[in-house]
Symmetry: D2
Subunit: 281 residues, 4 copies
């Protein structure tokens, strides 16, 4: 690989009122198009952190137990990206009989992507469009045109069904609705959480992947940051699978700072090309 | 008045397992544009029926108590209609400060018309259209184009919020969604239940009224029967206000037959004119 | 009357960005148990305020149009209360056949009180309890025991169906759930907004009325203020009917201050008696 | 193994109006406690069936493409069961820090098990109970006591959130609610579809597993069939993961017959013991 190099990181602080267990999901994954060159996961005070190694491509878990008091968690990584771009015109949809068994679950409804409840709406809007990459682009355009990006308009319980009707949300809501629409027209789709270069204000970002022509391609209906600067943290059916922290115990979130810097290579840019950022299934 | 004359009626049968109280809401109301010439409300076996007289324009109640056994309720009426038609072009919306206090409640969300949850969708689709009669027509057209009329697709719990997303329903669902859209763009709207000439299969019908230019005008997004053949039974915020039977006790619905015949005058026809069928508020 | 005398009032401020129309619903109603001795409704700048006079018992509307700029609305009233108290033991439920036609609508589901969706839960918890005043008390106790009073846990879209499951809310949510439970076991119930002596922090309050033995009796599942200090502003099916301000135009709410003082008579106290505060229907 | 032997099977018929692709999820899985001795998966007309082999423990896929016409699918298997029973008293809950990474997803909300929306209800009812096997039993008892088993009361869109409030459902709804309650009190739980000996009328069955003391234990809040006669077909987060047929194309379901016979060994019986039927994670 000879790709673009980024430094990403986050600092999270908590007030812990009693013994608590933490699972963090903020480390960058390695796959055939993205490689961690170096990284550090630290806690203050220092706790012994256990890392789960399985299924690196989908997500990683950093786990530890904490005593009471203030807690700071910081993650820093240098990552090389080698996104594969191509013209979307040549990317077809996969016929159902060709969808691999491990991709089939991404056709089913999930907590925040109730595709089963949106079949008529999706069929009405997208059912008759030409199949292929351009149909997913049409779904993104519809969302961009019909849903307002509005901080504070939704909460952790908000789902695609709500957003289809209430027409406002943030990046996670945009991704959920796009995923639900894709599944409703029989295109497998999944949720991706990541770091995003040039996102303002800096934060974790949410986008999605659609399974087309035997590969997963990324899409972002928010258009808030250039897709070639997306560094993948985790992949799942929806945000329920990828929350950056799962906490067992009386801990209160205090603050968060997320950074994404370009170290080497061309500045990321917006594109309408098809971008594949994970290994084929 | 010198209008069109209809004979309407219905036969309802029940199996009653124990002492029950019934409130029927199937009698035609009299207002300045519709007049009951003669009518009969009968039960078999014969029970003493109490009729509420207040607010004749909105709805009537026929009430009685029944013992166990089979029950038949029949209503027949001869009604003269004098619908007032005019070109819709000249019908403006009423500015909010001009809406009478007794009409204000029809701006608020109700059980089946959650206009508060549909504001963004309604504003996006209808917010920038020219105000007036044509805007309500645009709402009806949108529903006709985007929602499938499909028997059995909904149930008594279905509301406008569901229909906005699930995109299928029957006449009551069409009316609920239209009402919710109207209220969401600040046009007072209410639900009407009635008899409808030439409706196939014969049944009670549901449509709605919007308050425009100081009058209530009827609309029907289903386009299933000509509007000049609609005979009003009751008016309310939504179907919760106008159910044809409210039953207290162990009674089971068995069968229903609804009839609407033209006795005298021109056959009702579809129109795109503005039709006012109730007295001004 | 020779009752307790209160001074109530509120100050509301808005930023108005362009021509707007306002309808306020903050004035105290007069009925056979509550009487306005004197009152003032003022705006700054001074606008001409139109007051709707009809149906004084249910609610009043103060309406005006405003130009751009800061707006202050203030209402002050001196009110005499003559609540009628009696032992609840002797208050029966009204059999369905005895419910007057004008009370029947309070048996139907409404926007925030989806009694139709809560029938099984309500029947399971309250269906077999002895009928009468004590059954409504049991509904209030269940809510007090099972739902947490938690500021900020709900929003204007929250309904009884949500609260039945999510188990947290504020006074309006408590009232909505109680009303839905009552209707689901065939007790007519309605929403009341009012001023409440000794409520901390001072605010408008929401409680409800159940129709029992031919009268409306008030109940408050929050237990946050003594019921004999409740001064009625408006009555409706639920909060959709009684919002204190309906605004047409680009106005933003800035601040609110509500006051309730005792001027003369005994201090209000908590009671488990049956309190009737409106005229019989 | 030297266990009980069952013959299970199903016959499914469809009318296929055009080229369609099918994925069936009706084959019995093999794990350390259940073993397929022999099996046949047949279609009429005969189509070439592709079987996915991965992750045998969770579920299997039989896939094929069909032309138009009537279609019959039949599956027959002979299965040996070796359920492991023990007293539940000694089965503790697993502390969060001890939950393996691959089990963590079963703590998250899913399409039909919105544990995030049921936290307060679950904590109120089950939060203070003694931790361990008996707490999951208490959840099952609550559901059995509060939810009515009623065919036809729910549909494929019904979720745990609905059932918590509407209080009626079938086996899948019972399992969904139990899973949601478990997750809401931090016990990992997952959905199991299977064949069930002595279930009346014969049908596929749905139950659930809770992760306790490092193992998955099965529970069935319906109490409709003895747990030692449950033969596992598939496991997932909820019914979205385990539907017995996924169909792409114009095929209509016609009929279904499911059979479960005891061939050898003791008749299954109801038990309050802890039953583990899958290999440890």
């Amino acid at each position: 690989m000879n790709g673009t190099i980024f430094r990403v990181g986050c600092n999270l602080t908590y007030e812990v009122a009693g013994p608590s267990a933490f699972i963090f999901n903020i480390g960058v994954v390695t796959n055939s198009l993205q490689r961690v060159l170096s990284e550090q996961f630290e806690t203050a005070p220092v706790y012994q952190v256990q890392e789960s190694l399985s299924k690196l491509e989908e997500k990683r878990h950093h786990r530890f137990s904490s005593g009471p008091g203030p807690l700071r968690v910081s993650y820093q990584a240098t990552v090389e990206l080698n996104h594969h771009l191509q013209k979307g015109d040549h990317v077809p949809e996969t016929v159902p009989s060709g969808i691999p068994s491990q991709v089939i679950p991404y056709l089913y409804p999930s907590r925040y992507c109730e595709s089963d409840m949106l079949v008529r709406l999706a069929q009405h809007e997208f059912g008759k469009l030409q199949h292929g990459f351009s149909r997913v682009t049409a779904i993104c355009n519809w969302i961009h045109d019909n849903v307002e990006y509005l901080r504070g308009s939704t909460n952790p319980l908000t789902s695609a069904y709500d957003t289809a009707t209430e027409r406002a949300g943030v990046c996670r809501d945009f991704a959920h609705l796009a995923i639900a629409f894709c599944r409703a027209v029989l295109i497998p789709a999944r949720f991706v959480a990541g770091y995003a270069y040039a996102l303002q204000p800096p934060d974790f970002h949410a986008y999605f992947e659609a399974y087309l022509g035997g590969e997963w391609y990324i899409f972002d209906p928010t258009r808030l940051a250039p897709q070639t600067g997306f560094i993948r943290i985790s992949t799942g059916r929806d945000a329920a699978d990828t929350s950056f922290a799962t906490i067992f115990g009386p801990a209160t979130f205090s603050s968060m700072a997320v950074t994404t810097e370009l170290l080497q290579g061309p500045a990321p840019s917006y594109t309408t090309d098809a971008i594949s950022t994970s290994s084929p299934p």
